[in-house]
């Protein structure tokens, strides 16, 4: 009889999780050195769908690059576009009408909820529960329907323009969004009852994968990964941009540092986003959605510009080095999950594979966004 698995002399073996593994949500690969079910060491291998967005940024003109941003993170696309337009508007001193900024904030928050809903479903599916994914997708469908009526597409919105928006929202959008808010609140209650309170679910997450604040800092973690470790960091509050200072909302922070804390942060964030949407609809001013003098040719003056925004996945930074030309001299995209995923190698040492994959789910990975 031949031996199916040849153990290394030191009784560890290499387990190749990915690039085609159900828990990695895409083409991510983790080489794990295992001792039984325990991980001795892990090395994350990324880059399977690297598309070199930064080079495209250098080749294309500023408006042509607009649609690339929504290809980075297909779940929370609007947040990334928001960062891009804010940066170019800042660099070339374009005034944005107030109505446009409000609509941007509302749609970004809607997109954030949609993204978190998908994460919620996928996360519970990582833990083996399938039905919550379907419930989450039902609610997400509503958001996508609303956004589709406005932007014209369901996933890769190319909605923001330098100076404003692609087209205006109508009353139907406002009323549909208003109808959505109570519905979503009800659904969140259902999710809490079905999933958050569930003893199996809690047992799987409580105390799993503690991340210290120091570790978050060394790796530059943001979003729920940092906030679940007791770091009160949200770019919308720390470094207010757009019309966010006008809104009254809280940044949920949990101090348990474990996977459950990260879960709780995101669930709470959905409630807060609903609050922002509600206020935004109340305050939505009338007016144009593009500046009176529509910027024709975008040529930011030479220099170095940086803009950070809080997307659904964390602090997204975009750096523009301009030489005054029609296209950027250098465009750097700092994607939040890149830093969050980087934590994994160090944090998962000594963990069971079950817990490590649950931890990976709690990081909220979108692989195209890591690979760019």
């Amino acid at each position: 009889m031949n031996s199916p698995i040849e153990l290394q002399p030191d009784e560890t073996f290499i387990l190749n999780v990915g690039p085609q593994h159900p828990a990695t949500h895409g083409v991510l690969r983790v080489k794990m050195e295992m001792s039984g079910e325990y991980i001795v060491q892990a090395e994350t291998v990324i880059g399977y769908i690297h598309r070199m967005h930064e080079k495209m940024g250098e080749i294309k003109t500023y408006p042509q690059f607009l649609m690339n941003l929504s290809r980075m993170d297909y779940l929370g696309a609007l947040g990334y576009s928001h960062g891009h337009v804010l940066l170019i508007e800042k660099a070339s001193a374009i005034e944005v009408p107030e109505r446009a900024e409000y609509i941007r904030a509302i749609t970004v928050e809607m997109n954030r909820i949609a993204s978190h809903l998908f994460w919620f479903g996928a996360f519970v599916m990582d833990l083996g529960g399938f039905s919550p994914l379907m419930y989450a997708l039902q609610d997400r469908e509503h958001i996508l329907d609303i956004l589709e009526r406005v932007t014209g597409s369901r996933l890769t919105y190319c909605y923001y323009r330098f100076g404003g928006l692609y087209n205006d929202v109508d009353d139907e959008f406002v009323s549909a969004t208003r109808r959505f808010i109570p519905r979503m609140r009800k659904s969140l209650k259902k999710y809490h009852k079905l999933v958050t309170g569930n003893i199996i679910f809690r047992k799987r997450l409580e105390g799993i994968a503690p991340l210290s604040q120091e570790m978050c800092r060394k790796y530059g973690a943001s979003s729920a990964v940092a906030r679940g470790s007791g770091i009160n960091f949200d770019v919308r509050k720390n470094e207010p941009y757009s019309v966010y200072p006008e809104f009254d909302f809280d940044v949920p922070v949990f101090h348990e540092c474990d996977s459950l804390a990260r879960y709780n942060v995101r669930m709470e964030e959905m409630e807060q986003s609903l609050r922002i949407i509600e206020q935004g609809l109340d305050k939505l001013p009338d007016g144009p959605i593009m500046p009176v003098k529509k910027p024709k040719l975008i040529k930011p003056p030479a220099g170095d510009y940086y803009q950070a925004v809080e997307t659904a996945r964390g602090s997204f930074g975009i750096r523009l080095v301009s030489d005054g030309g029609k296209s950027p001299y250098r465009l750097k995209l700092r994607s939040p999950t890149y830093s969050n995923m980087h934590l994994f190698d160090e944090a998962c040492r000594g963990m069971l594979i079950t817990d490590a994959l649950a931890f990976m789910g709690s990081l909220d990975l979108v692989i195209p966004e890591i690979d760019r």
Binding site: P4, M125, F130, I200, F201, K203, R204, T354, L357
Partner: protein
Amino acid sequence: MSLTLLNVIVAVVIAIGFAALNAAYLVWAERRGAARIQRRPGPNINGPFGLLQPPLDGIKLMAKQLTIPGGADKVLFVAAPVLAMFPAIMSFVTIPFSETIVAKNMNVGVLMIFAFASMGGMSLVFAGWSSRNKYAMMSSVRAVSQAVAYEIPMLITTITVVMIAGSMDLMEIVRQQSGSILNWNILPIFGTSHNILMPMSFLIFFTCTLAETNRAPFDLGEAESELVAGFHTEYGSMGFGLFFMGEYANIVIGSCLTTILFLGGWNAPLPFLSFIPGVFWFLLKLYMLIATFIWIRWTFPRTTIYGLLNLSWKILIPLSLFNLLFTAGLMKVF
């Protein structure tokens, strides 16, 4: 003599047919049920309500090539799926569906079913070991510890019932619960047991059945988000189909046993309803239990391997031992 032999053969054939039919259509029921829970229609294209889906799936699986991974242990690799199906079918032989419908009643029926149930674990080990796949190997190691951990509370709980009935004969156990719903073993005080802890034993037994049949939330063997597909990662074609059917056949056996031990077997819940044949009541209870299995699977996330072992060793085994002692004490007193 020859008549009895013929009887047995016919009964065995019927048992196999019943098991296979159930396994096939439970897949359909599960898919429809899951879809309803998730507010989808489920399979509804092939035939009315999608009822032709299972045979078509079967044909598709049979038409596929059975690939054996390089370096795999061929004999065990092929034997494992058969071994998964075989014990489940054999167990049907001794299950009484009513007073008369039973292939071969034995006075140690309980023992026989448990003997075959233990063999089910072997097939997982064989499959995992012979596949030459690390995920499958890890899964089979899990399967062993799971089987060991859950057979103990299951057996202890069964001993409690056997103690009350004073027999290992399944028919005898059912007969003692006849009369009305009040005599069923699941009920505290009133039942034949006069034992206040009986609902708890039912829960323990039911949980163990879930774990023994590798059903969610205890499906750690195949845990698709961790181990890809666990022990049957390398199986395709009918090898996979047999594992699949074996799983459902095991569910039927587990539910049959639960019905017989706790829910009064073929007895009608109320005496005046006993004009309806016993087999109807038996199947009703059986399918309600199976529906619960499906319902649970589509509600809960999966436990972890240590969560599963903790549940068994820290909660189920102490409770079932206490239950056993308590029942023994009660029987001594009354």
